[in-house]
């Protein structure tokens, strides 16, 4: 039970600012963060984010687990695109032990990355529409996402968190139907993606709500470490798939989606363009999967040589960096996940003042 003093501190704040709490229980924050918003009328003066509601102590847990066990924990870090998190840890382990991953595994890993990126962007689009009030958008996005999740379920047994990518390659081979289902899905989704534009992008109300809001300059983005589509909306070219290609990304042609305006509408358009690019990457890869092994020969117990290793991967939201300090045992001495959303969040205090937020 809160006493009177605590209520006064939390609700009134210093200098008698009018503070409204967008707490973890709010339909827009989806339960994972809390903003203390200081309002002056309808305009935002400043914001204080509070995080940690979904912190599960993964880094401490990993210090007592072996590397294949860590893969299962990394799934849960960003559950909408679980493959990319797995792949980051696998790349670090493979670099450290200097293992050559077979081509088939690389192709399939890249296809799964891009499917995960599509699924996550679909969910982003429908949640974005719903938070703005276009409730129909929610159903359109989820309807199409189900197709991707069905493909995952057939090959890997679960819809969201598979832990399928293992150090050395893949855990087991894909289902024989994998390629056909993906080709059907690409044909289906190419017809549906223009519907997304018809529903939201061209709508006057939507454009008035998003254009000119939340401007972020390129210097701010670099200073705060913002990466991913949010940074690409400010003309900051930071795609790790182009700068340091991994998997099969050096064998495909795709454009990096950049926009110059730096407002919410620009970031929206970057993600829509990325969906088209993902479709074209999958199309280029799905017919050419080589037919060799799905994994390299690995020892049953993986021990990394002593030293420090760092590797970055382009997940849906930005750069995920994995930093491993190993002293030769089967568990890491210290593993640090540099997650993209940690940096992407804290730029909010810089870009929100002087906006009229309808909360």
């Amino acid at each position: 039970m809160m006493s009177e003093e605590i209520i006064k501190d939390v609700i009134i704040g210093e200098n008698e600012d009018y503070i409204i709490n967008m707490g973890p229980q709010h339909p827009s924050t989806h339960g994972v963060l809390r903003f203390e918003v200081c309002l002056k009328g309808e305009t935002v003066k400043y914001l204080i984010p509070h995080i940690g509601y979904i912190h599960r102590g993964i880094e401490k847990m990993c210090e007592s687990l072996t590397y294949p066990q860590i893969i299962h924990l990394t799934d849960r870090m960003d559950y909408f695109s679980a493959h990319m998190n797995n792949e980051a840890v696998c790349l670090v382990v493979e670099d450290a032990m200097q293992i050559e991953v077979p081509e088939r595994a690389k192709y399939i890993r890249t296809i799964l990355d891009e499917l995960g990126r599509l699924a996550s962007h679909q969910l982003w689009w429908c949640a974005f529409g719903m938070d703005l009030g276009a409730l129909t958008a929610f159903f359109y996005g989820l309807r199409d996402r189900e197709h991707i999740l069905d493909i995952f379920e057939e090959s890997f047994g679960s819809r969201l968190l598979h832990s399928y990518v293992m150090p050395g390659g893949l855990m087991h081979d894909v289902h024989p139907n994998f390629q056909n289902r993906i080709k059907e899905f690409i044909k289906y989704f190419r017809k549906k993606l223009p519907e997304y534009d018809q529903l939201l992008t061209g709508n006057v109300i939507f454009q008035n709500r998003t254009k000119g809001i939340g401007y972020m300059s390129k210097e701010t983005a670099i200073g705060y470490g913002v990466t991913g589509p949010s940074a690409r909306g400010s003309n900051y070219s930071c795609d790790v798939r182009k700068l340091a290609p991994y998997g099969a990304y050096d064998k495909v042609q795709f454009n990096e989606s950049l926009m110059t305006e730096g407002d919410t509408f620009a970031r929206y358009q970057v993600r829509m363009k990325e969906m088209w690019e993902s479709l074209s990457i999958i199309e280029q890869l799905v017919d050419n999967i080589p037919a060799d092994d799905y994994t390299a020969k690995m020892k049953p117990i993986i021990k990394l040589p002593a030293g420090e290793y760092f590797r970055r991967v382009e997940t849906v939201r930005g750069e995920l960096g994995v930093y491993v300090v190993s002293d030769g045992n089967k568990s890491p001495l210290r593993i640090k996940f540099r997650t993209p959303n940690f940096s992407n969040l804290f730029v909010m205090n810089e870009i929100t003042p002087d906006i009229k937020l309808p909360i």
Binding site: E42, L132, A134, F139, I205, F206, K356
Partner: protein, 366 residues
């Protein structure tokens, strides 16, 4: 002008006259009036309840259709008892009193909102001869009474003692008060055409064609302004900032639960019905059937469809349009909402009034 054209339409005043004669035979005249008032009150209560239930079900089915899914289909055949199940659930919920809220105002607010929508319902013409109160200031009365509901909303927000509710109520109050101007001006357009504010006169003047066709361009502009402004009046559709879920967690009715929340919910749907019925009466001809010029045979057939059916189908047509808005468009922000009214709709309405006055003077309407 209207005697031979609407002579085939069944006149409910024969029915009401018969009931009156039957009652007068049994009791003194004072008691007859009292009994009739009780009967009319009961009829309205019943209609309110049934319409409310039906409208909630209708909304869920329309929304499901737009979103490419089925909607309620388990409780009863095609899910028609879904609303009754929801109502039972709401009635069984605990009424949570808020510490430090103003108890009298907190409990009073839902009742004010419901009473206002009742008052407005009473003045609408449902069929030929079936109108409870036929004031000579009909349009003005309905507008005035539905404006009273803003008091209920402000009271609800203020007495909840919560920041979210207060902000929601302030925004809602500003929105309703602004959009009343546009609604009034667009209704005024047809009053100028007809020359009278009495609702039954307005309907009878549409015997040779609905005002939206007779008044061509100016009436059409008025209709569009009326649609947009009345959606904003009832806090619906793209203008539901004050009470939407992902903004402000339900705004002015955040702190209400159980039957009080059901009152707000029901009053919102009935307001939608009232506003649509008003639009149907004034622009689309009320209970008048659809006649085309000199096609006597066609007109005879149209006359045989009862006027009640005409009235309700036109009302539900407008309700369908309003629901369509809500499920397709994202929301407007509060300052964009008010800009739309003060900088766009109001000047258009004012210009339209001038245009209509000119048209009537020159006799350029049908």
């Amino acid at each position: 002008m209207n005697t031979n054209m609407s002579s085939n339409i069944y006149d409910f005043s024969t029915l009401t006259g018969a009931i009156h004669t039957w009652l007068s035979g049994m009791m003194s005249s004072g008691l007859v009036i009292f009994t009739e008032m009780v009967l009319v009150g009961l009829a309205f209560l019943l209609m309110y309840a049934l319409l409310g239930l039906f409208l909630v079900y209708f909304e869920r089915k329309v929304c499901a259709f737009i979103q490419n899914r089925v909607g309620p289909n388990r409780v009863g055949l095609y899910g028609i008892f879904q609303t009754i199940a929801d109502l039972i659930k709401l009635l069984m919920k605990e009424l949570i009193p808020i510490r430090k809220s103003d108890k009298l105002l907190f409990n009073l607010a839902p009742y004010i909102v419901i009473i206002c929508s009742f008052l407005a319902l009473a003045a609408l013409p449902y069929a030929k001869g079936l109108q409870a109160i036929d004031f000579n200031i009909g349009v003005f009365y309905v507008m005035a009474v539905s404006s009273l509901s803003v008091i209920g909303i402000l009271l609800a927000g203020w007495s909840s003692n919560s920041k979210y509710s207060l902000i929601g109520a302030m925004r809602s109050g500003a929105q309703i008060v602004s959009y009343e101007l546009s609604v009034g001006l667009s209704l005024l357009a047809i009053v100028v055409f007809t020359g009278s504010m009495q609702l039954s006169t307005i309907v009878e003047s549409q015997a040779n064609g609905w005002w939206i066709f007779k008044g061509h361009i100016p009436a059409f502009i008025s209709f569009i302004v009326f649609l947009v402004a009345s959606t904003a009046e009832i806090n619906r559709g793209p203008f539901d900032l004050a009470e939407a879920e992902s903004e402000l967690t339900a705004g002015f009715h955040t702190e209400y639960s159980g039957i009080k929340f059901a009152f707000f919910f029901l009053a919102e749907y009935m307001n939608m019905f009232i506003v649509s019925a008003l639009g149907a009466t004034v622009f689309l001809g009320g209970w008048m059937p659809f006649h085309v010029g000199n096609w006597e045979g066609f007109n005879q057939i149209m006359d045989y469809i009862p006027s009640v059916v005409w009235f309700f189908s036109k009302t539900f047509f407008i309700i369908l349009i309003i629901m369509w808005f809500k499920w397709t468009f994202p929301r407007l922000r509060i300052d964009q909402l008010l800009t739309l009214e003060w900088k766009y709709l109001l000047p258009i309405s004012l210009f339209n009034i001038l245009l209509i006055a000119f048209t009537v003077m020159m006799g350029w309407h049908f």
